[in-house]
Amino acid sequence: MLNVSVMNIVWTVINLLVLYLVFRLFLFKRVDAVLQARRDEIEHAKDSVLEKEREAEKLKEDYSAKLRDADKECEELINKSKQEGYDEYDRIVTEAKDKAEQIIVEARHNAQIEAQKEKDAYVSELTDLVVRAANKIAVSKHDEESDKELYNKFIFEAIEKSK
């Protein structure tokens, strides 16, 4: 019952090694290969997802930067057109002011010329009057009375004229 046979022990050892080899080659290796392939796939999928996420993040940043730039540009444009508007306004107002001044100056000048003309006309009329009066005096006989009357008439006419 307890007879030990070396050969049988050796056989069992060989049996075990063979079984181990079978398990290793046909079970563990195959299953491990499948599991490893699955793990690799998951890892790969994870990597690509991360990559995509990074890309999306970058795009988002780009777009927000562009948006900021556009805002800035827009503001600049508005400022520029505002500035242009103010400049135009100033220019128009200045021009109008200049024109008005010119008109005033011209008007003043015209008025002066008119006044001079009237003055000249008055002076020439007065001269005529004096000449006529002198003629009348020279023609008519004259005494103190008529002189006085004539003189008054002349003054009166002159006043009347100057009015």
């Binding site: 050969m7 069992t12 049996n15 075990l16 079984l19 398990f23 046909f26 079970l27 299953v31």
Partner: protein
């Protein structure tokens, strides 16, 4: 009832199946060896069937079963070995399956190969070699030799004795349990020939056989874990 005759037949039967007529029977092959060839053949066919046509996606049921078996068995031995002994878990799975399958041979009316002392001796020999090899691999020869004097120099003889005691206890435990179960089953069959042996067979042939396989692997794993710490 001829209990003595039964025991004689069971324990003293001629185990030699294939006899070679030279060197006084040195190369004789026991029945247990032939039986374990059968066990190995069945296991190999089963594995080949389960793992044929493996795919990464859309796996078949048999592939799922194969993966489940690998995961579960590795889980069992990993739980016993821990991270340090990770590399030995596959071997422990093989031993677990081999002893378990060998013990279940009783279900088919054969005497289990583990009832032959030569088989259990070979198994425990492999275990102690693996344990010491793991220790040497982990610590290096010098440290491994020093580890015999730990924790105290005075117990060095004990530690050396353990080299022989451990495989002997492994070997005898497995052998004794299986032969005990078989003897009890045979006696039961003699006393009550029907129904009762079937119920007890559940315990002695299936449960006890698997428990003994587990115990053998558990103890070997324990030794490996101790060696690689």
């Amino acid at each position: 009832m001829d209990i003595g005759g039964l025991l004689k037949e069971l324990l003293l039967e001629d185990k030699v199946l294939i006899h070679f007529d030279f060197m006084n029977g040195f190369f004789d092959i026991n029945r247990s060896i032939v039986l374990s060839w059968g066990v190995i053949a069945v296991l190999t066919l089963l594995i080949l069937f389960l793992t044929s046509n493996m795919k990464v996606h859309d796996i078949s049921t048999k592939q799922a079963v194969a993966e489940l078996i690998v995961e579960k068995l590795r889980g069992i031995t990993y739980g016993m070995l821990g991270d340090e002994g990770l590399r030995y878990r596959d071997y422990m799975v093989v031993v677990l399956v081999f002893i378990g399958a060998s013990n279940l041979v009783g279900l088919f009316g054969q005497t289990p190969p583990t009832m032959d002392l030569n088989v259990t001796a070979a198994l425990s020999l492999m275990s102690i070699v693996l344990v010491e090899a793991a220790g040497i691999k982990k610590k290096g020869t010098r440290k491994w030799l020093k580890s015999f004097a730990e924790p105290m120099a005075i117990i060095t003889p004990m530690n050396i004795l353990e080299l022989a005691i451990r495989p002997l206890s492994l070997c005898m435990r497995l052998f004794g349990n299986i032969i005990g179960a078989t003897v009890i089953m045979e006696l039961l069959k003699m006393v009550v020939p029907i129904i009762v042996p079937a119920a007890f067979s559940l315990y002695f042939d299936i449960f006890d056989g698997l428990i003994q396989a587990y115990v053998f692997v558990f103890l070997t794993s324990l030794y490996i874990k101790e060696a690689v710490e």
